[in-house]
């Protein structure tokens, strides 16, 4: 099954990244939304760095930071017997880092566009900030949540530069579909490259269509109750 392996690996990476970032993204955007306007621009720049940086830059720095020769890498090696380069965990870590803006931006936009009275009402009703987040704010920004997840998933599926730098191209571990395609082109196996590309394209199109359809259904469903 080694033909399908890269595809499953890509999907696995995309799903895990989206799940982790869902939680992380909510926490980050909630934190940012509550910040006084002074510090905000600074944090927004940091959050959006991965959008501006070429993926290879991030990959390059990660490679250096996590190399067992250097402090962080040594620490990881010693205490956890693992490294973050050339492993799936390393890819996942880099992928989460790199996709932060794709999850945080929609969530932050959603949260800041909510009327502040919602939060205030919840607090006057005796609920803590966290309960307000879970029971009032997040349900109110469902479209933003969906948007963030879709963007993150799709972007991870296509991730190439970072994986190239720190993946090590290991079959079954870090050889994701985007790398596999590149490999096949390098090795002049153009047929395989075609297959991979076509499958990836079809898969992503299907996923996006399904999600768009589901999103429209929920909003249509709500409208229909308005008789």
């Amino acid at each position: 099954m080694s033909f399908w392996e890269p595809l499953f690996l890509s999907i696995k990476l995309a799903i895990l990244t989206t799940c982790i970032l869902f939680i992380l993204g909510i926490l980050i955007s909630w934190g940012l939304a509550s910040l006084k306007s002074g510090c905000k621009p600074f944090w927004e720049v940091i959050i959006n760095l991965p959008l501006m940086l070429p993926p290879t830059v991030l990959g390059f720095y990660l490679l250096i930071i996590f190399s067992p020769e250097n402090t962080v890498g040594k620490f990881l090696q010693y205490y956890f017997q693992s490294r973050l380069v050339f492993t799936f965990e390393g890819l996942l870590f880099a992928s989460v880092l790199f996709n932060i803006p794709f999850m945080v931006n929609p969530l932050l936009a959603g949260l800041t566009n909510l009327p502040s009275t919602l939060k205030e009402a919840s607090s006057t009703l005796g609920k803590s900030g966290f309960v307000t987040l879970i029971r009032v704010l997040l349900p109110a920004i469902r479209p933003s949540l969906a948007s963030g997840c879709i963007m993150t998933f799709a972007h991870t599926m296509g991730e190439f530069g970072v994986v190239m730098m720190i993946g090590g191209n290991i079959p079954g571990e870090t050889r994701v579909a985007s790398i596999a395609i590149y490999n096949e082109v390098e090795a002049m196996n153009y047929t395989n490259a075609h297959y991979y590309s076509a499958i990836m394209l079809t898969f992503i199109l299907l996923v996006l269509l399904v999600l768009q359809f589901a999103n429209r259904n929920t909003s249509r469903g709500k409208k229909m109750r308005h008789d």
């Binding site: 009275t117 205030e120 009402a121 005796g126 609920k127 803590s128 029971r135 009032v136 349900p139 308005h226």
Partner: protein, 319 residues
């Protein structure tokens, strides 16, 4: 019907507010400096034009804004005291706040919105009707009944009319069993008919649930129909306080009508100023002397009193 919905609650909710705050209005800075009391079960109105600071005071009582200095005490419990550095969070203050935009939770049904206010301590468990105790269920049922929302209990806010949404906002705030019931211009987005209907309902609810209430408005009809007492606010200071009739009808004599009017248009002909007014849904033209017309502009709300008025009833109008 005057029923004690929750007997055994404390009888003595008295609110003392004495706060100062410097804040920026749209046009200029000014200082808010107020000192007043609200008695137990009193229906107190904060009245003034926009920007006078009424909403700010309400928010300070609720804990949504912090004064620069002063003290807020409810029921002999100190909610805010700048000298002792006490400032309770909104969660710890038992206020029922009705926002101008109602702030209903669109992802919850009417019933769930109310349950949200009722359920135990903050953050405890899921809001499922099944999980609530028997007396809580009864309480919610009584609120739904009192606010006329029984039929709408399973509707979502996006399907409700303005008046219905407002009732939900009331119900939710009342369900909190608040020490203070705070309403921020609750009728401002309603049409005249709904408004009048709501006046009666609100007054009834407040009586039924024995609430001590502070309502912010700039509308005279609200005041006259519901207030026990009014505090007149102008540019952050209290300029008068007392019963509505004392404040607004100071110069009233018998057989006089005092009406609240909105100036629609001001025009001049050779001899006089003509004001086109909207009074209670009717459009009326009156001529106004130079001194009375001075400083007035379209859009302003004024009080119009008649000097002599001998009404005669002519015919009947089928309603």
């Amino acid at each position: 019907m005057q029923t004690e919905i929750h007997p055994g609650e404390k009888k003595c909710a008295m609110i003392e507010v004495s706060v100062k705050k410097k804040f920026r209005n749209v046009h200029q800075d000014f200082f808010l400096n107020v000192d007043f009391e609200v008695k137990n079960r009193e229906f107190m109105f904060l009245f003034g034009e926009s920007g006078a600071g009424k909403t700010t005071i309400l928010r300070m009582i609720a804990g949504l804004e912090t004064p620069d200095s002063g003290m807020i005490r409810v029921d002999s419990e100190v909610w805010y005291d700048s000298s002792r550095k006490i400032n309770l969070t909104p969660q710890k203050r038992k206020t029922g706040f009705v926002f101008q935009d109602y702030a209903l939770f669109d992802n919850m049904t009417v019933r769930q919105n109310i349950e949200y206010a009722v359920h135990g301590r903050s953050g405890q468990g899921k809001s499922s009707h099944a999980g609530l105790g028997k007396d809580k269920k009864e309480f919610i049922a009584s609120i739904l009944l009192a606010t006329g929302l029984e039929e709408l209990a399973f509707q979502f806010p996006c399907n409700l009319s303005g008046g219905q949404m407002q009732r939900v906002a009331f119900a939710r705030a009342i369900a909190r069993r608040p020490s203070v019931f705070l309403l921020d211009e609750p009728f401002s987005s309603l049409d005249l008919d709904s408004r009048n209907k709501m006046h009666e309902e609100l007054k009834q609810n407040i009586r039924d649930f024995s609430l001590t209430t502070i309502l912010v408005t700039h509308d005279y009809s609200d005041v006259f129909k519901m207030a026990d007492r009014v505090i007149l606010l102008k540019k952050g200071e209290i300029i008068d306080t007392g019963k509505p009739s004392e404040i607004f009808l100071a110069e009233s004599r018998e057989n006089q009508f005092v009406l609240q009017a909105e100036i629609l248009e001001i025009s001049r002909n050779e001899s006089a100023n003509i004001f086109t007014l909207l009074i209670g849904g009717n459009v009326i033209k009156i001529s106004v002397s130079e001194s009375e017309a001075k400083g007035r502009s379209a859009g302003e709300t004024i009080m119009v009193a008649s000097r002599t008025f001998h009404p005669v009833i002519v015919g009947r109008e089928k309603s």
